[in-house]
């Protein structure tokens, strides 16, 4: 997998203006309100409509965008942004300091029911309008991850007019989504497609973009095609130009087609990992956790299922995330013998008729709930079956009850399940705070499904978010990753990868730091 490289590296022809591009997404946003939604897809699609204060490049550096410049207070408790003066919303409203305040306040307002954006704002206390084009965003505690947060579409800006008129309706997409971005959200048909048209007034592209001025494409259509086979099939028959989330099994097929190509990038942030619930039997025993960590043949399973398309993960953090600890690689390979030994030591010595280990007459059972089918991505349910088979070999039974999402959340975040699996994409090591900090308790909306409040982990992740010093961050995050593996509270599985299938006719398409396609620079060449 390559990262962020523009597609179609052949002879760079001059970009062509015009044309319509159809992009097939695998999921459909439940809510289009970027301030409210927690879905990746919402950010990915709405990126075309919303600009951010600053932009983040693939190497983790920040560049001006709607803010010409910015400055962090030394205590990292406030950030001041100087805004561009020539920016206007799609509805003609000028973009100014007041707009920033209105938007951030809206995110912070509980009535918005924000599920992600408000956490990106962290300990937000308010926005001060310094002058018409200068704002200061203030926090109650040092908050280093804010810059990265400010570069995401979730902290994008709605026209104050539309917030005033349509605040409740912003969830449902369509022309009410008034932003400053290169495309205007012109039409939405649920279950089918969202249509975007070029914003001809656009002239505030970030430095990270390949060109300035309006986008090349007249129209961008996003089709919602949840079936992978349907996405790939329609790409092959050229009914769409770009397909998201091409399953690894099908990439070969696309590569074999002369008119098509594959563009991929690893997602930054939290790898797809299994989190072990340390608050209850039997995983409160570190030996058992370790046994499970080492008793899964992750390499083989990943290779079989993903054909090498997804990289096997060694750390809870993805390699493309700043602060990634590469020394973990190959440090805890598959070792069934060790796993068996650890289980013996933990007292799970006897075996029952079906070959499962028992202790005091109780079978070693791990309860690992399965998400409802429509939330299952990348065939993780099948991968889970492979893990079940692996663990059976060392005498561990894994049960996978499947229920609705409410029940699932209750089990997993209520601490009733033994294991939970998820990934958390974000181009910022602060995800480790979310995933492992002792105060990031699921009961309170956190994401730490290990239910462990390890003083070290908590301390380090707190320190990481309170500094912008690269060296300090590298150190604390590196140690955090190491300790999480040592404690065997997390079993990293693979690094998720955005795999786009696209027609070679599509030029200039790139993937941003979050591994999402950017359509601003894209254009359509001659049909091949």
């Amino acid at each position: 997998a390559t990262s962020g490289a523009p597609a179609a590296s052949a002879a760079p022809a001059a970009p062509v203006k015009g044309g319509s591009l159809t992009f097939a997404a695998d999921t459909e946003p439940v809510s289009f309100d970027v301030h409210q939604s927690s879905q990746d897809i919402t950010g990915a699609i709405m990126r075309n409509v919303f600009d951010s204060l600053i932009s983040l490049d693939a190497s983790g550096r920040f560049h001006p965008w709607l803010a010409e410049s910015w400055e962090a207070a030394p205590d990292l408790k406030s950030y001041t942004f100087k805004l561009r003066k020539d920016v206007v919303f799609h509805d003609g409203t000028p973009f100014d300091a007041e707009a920033v305040k209105i938007n951030f306040d809206r995110i912070h307002d509980p009535a918005t029911k924000s599920q992600l954006a408000s956490s990106l704002l962290g300990p937000y206390t308010g926005t001060k309008v310094v002058d018409s084009h200068t704002v200061t965003v203030e926090f109650s505690a040092p908050f280093a991850p804010f810059l990265q947060a400010a570069s995401t579409a979730y902290l994008g800006f709605y026209s104050p007019k539309t917030i005033a008129a349509n605040s409740a309706a912003l969830t449902s997409g369509g022309p009410v989504e008034v932003g400053t971005g290169p495309f205007v959200f012109s039409q939405y048909a649920k279950g089918r497609q969202a249509v975007f048209t070029r914003n001809d007034a656009y002239k505030w592209a970030p430095k990270t973009a390949a060109h300035t001025g309006p986008a090349y494409l007249d129209n961008l259509t996003v089709r919602f095609l949840p079936e992978a086979s349907v996405r790939v099939g329609s790409l092959s028959s050229r009914q769409i130009d770009v397909a998201a989330a091409v399953p690894p099994a099908q990439t070969k097929r696309i590569q074999g087609n002369a008119a098509l190509t594959v563009l991929s990038a690893d997602y930054p942030g939290g790898n797809y990992s299994i989190y072990l619930n340390t608050s209850k039997e039997p995983l409160n025993d570190e030996k058992v956790r370790k046994a499970i960590q080492r008793g899964i043949d992750i390499d083989t399973d990943i290779k079989a299922l993903y054909f090498g398309q997804f990289k096997r993960a060694w750390s809870p953090l993805a390699p493309t995330t700043p602060g990634y600890n590469a020394s973990l690689e190959n440090s805890w390979p598959y070792d069934p013998a060790l796993a068996n030994k650890l289980l013996d030591e933990a007292g799970w010595t006897t075996k029952d008729a079906e070959g499962y280990r028992t202790k005091n007459g109780k079978r070693l059972v791990i309860d690992w709930p399965l998400l409802p089918a429509q939330y299952v991505r990348d065939q993780r349910d099948i991968l889970g079956q492979a893990f079940q088979a692996d663990l059976k070999k060392i005498g561990v039974e894994v049960t996978r009850p499947q229920a609705d999402i409410g029940t699932y959340l209750e089990r997993v975040y209520g601490g009733k399940a033994d294991m939970a699996d998820y990934s958390w994409a974000r181009a910022e090591p602060d995800v480790l705070w979310l995933l492992l900090n002792g105060t990031s308790r699921p009961q309170k909306g956190g994401q730490n499904a290990t239910f462990l409040n390890d003083p070290d982990l908590t301390k380090w992740t707190d320190e990481g978010r309170a500094t912008l010093d690269e060296a300090v961050r590298k150190d604390v995050y590196g140690r955090t990753q190491q300790r999480a593996i040592d404690l065997a509270i997390v079993i990293p599985i693979y690094t998720q990868s955005q795999v786009l299938g696209l027609s070679k006719q599509v030029q200039g398409l790139s993937l941003d730091a979050n591994a999402w396609p950017l359509f601003y620079d894209a254009w359509l060449g001659k049909p091949s």
Binding site: S229, P247, Q250, D301, G384, Q402
Partner: protein, 266 residues
């Protein structure tokens, strides 16, 4: 007996064997993975090929018979039992009881069976048992109405009147004449209903509400194979074929039973 009935009966035999003693038909375990041999096409070693984890599809289809048949059978038995009870009570329990149950049934019958099942799933959640309950509930109103209609016909029939004229007590009358004759034809119809229940149950499984992995079930196997349609058609072919063949065989046998029954009783 017709030739088609015999063939159908013969087709059912291995299915029943698969459902009861799967280990006789295959020596491999349905959940043992072998990632190295993933996605092998059908061939000598693997008659139906292998799936994405290298599991032998033949074995999985064989082992999938039990939950799949159980879905159809459990749901049908439950539905017929509940339907018979409701139907007989409605038909013999007096006007008020009849009116109430009929209005209730009207409501349930106004909804597509799959939707009714999905409503139950929404409340109960997925899983084999819940799917059986959901399908049973969805099919119960139909059976209840059939039994009621039959019971009303039987109640007004000459032989019930004749038995009444003999001076039989009402309890004897119901147990000896009304019940068997009202439920009998419905039972025969239920063999065909079994096929429908199997399709519906596997359908729910296909939608992801059924059997929990990694246990094989035909509907969920189909769902798992969907991403591989373009490259590994066999994953999507055999489980579906198993459902279809089962339903065809059951339908043929059921219709033969129906013919026999009609020949004997009307």
């Amino acid at each position: 007996m017709r030739r088609s009935t015999i063939i159908a009966g013969l087709a059912l035999a291995p299915l029943l064997a698969a459902a009861t003693v799967p280990d006789l038909l295959t020596s491999v375990s349905p959940i043992t993975i072998d990632p190295v041999r993933a996605l092998l096409p059908p061939g000598a070693g693997h008659w139906f090929g292998t799936d994405q984890l290298g599991r032998d599809l033949f074995t999985r289809v064989v082992y999938g018979a039990r939950p799949s048949l159980l879905l159809g059978l459990g749901a049908t038995v439950l539905a017929v039992a509940a339907g018979a009870l409701i139907g007989v009570v409605a038909a013999l329990g007096g006007r008020a009881a009849d009116q109430t149950t009929m209005r209730l049934l009207d409501v349930l019958l106004s909804l597509p069976q799959l939707l009714l099942a999905l409503l139950v799933i929404t409340v109960l959640g997925g899983g084999l048992v819940n799917v059986v309950v959901a399908i049973a509930l969805a099919f119960t109103p139909g059976y209840a109405r059939m039994v009621r209609t039959e019971a009303l016909v039987v109640r007004r029939s000459g032989y019930v009147e004749a038995a009444h004229g003999l001076g039989l007590r009402p309890v004897v009358l119901v147990v000896r004449h009304v019940l068997p004759n009202a439920v009998g034809p419905v039972l025969v119809l239920a063999t065909v209903g079994f096929g429908t229940a199997l399709i519906a149950g596997s359908g729910l499984s296909f939608l992801g509400f059924g059997v929990k992995p990694p246990d094989p079930e035909w509907g969920s196997m189909l769902a798992e194979g969907r991403d591989f349609l373009a490259d590994a058609w066999w994953i999507g072919l055999f489980p579906g074929a198993a459902i279809t063949v089962t339903v065809i065989a059951v339908n043929v046998v059921g219709r033969a039973a129906q013919r026999r029954y009609t020949r004997r009783t009307s």
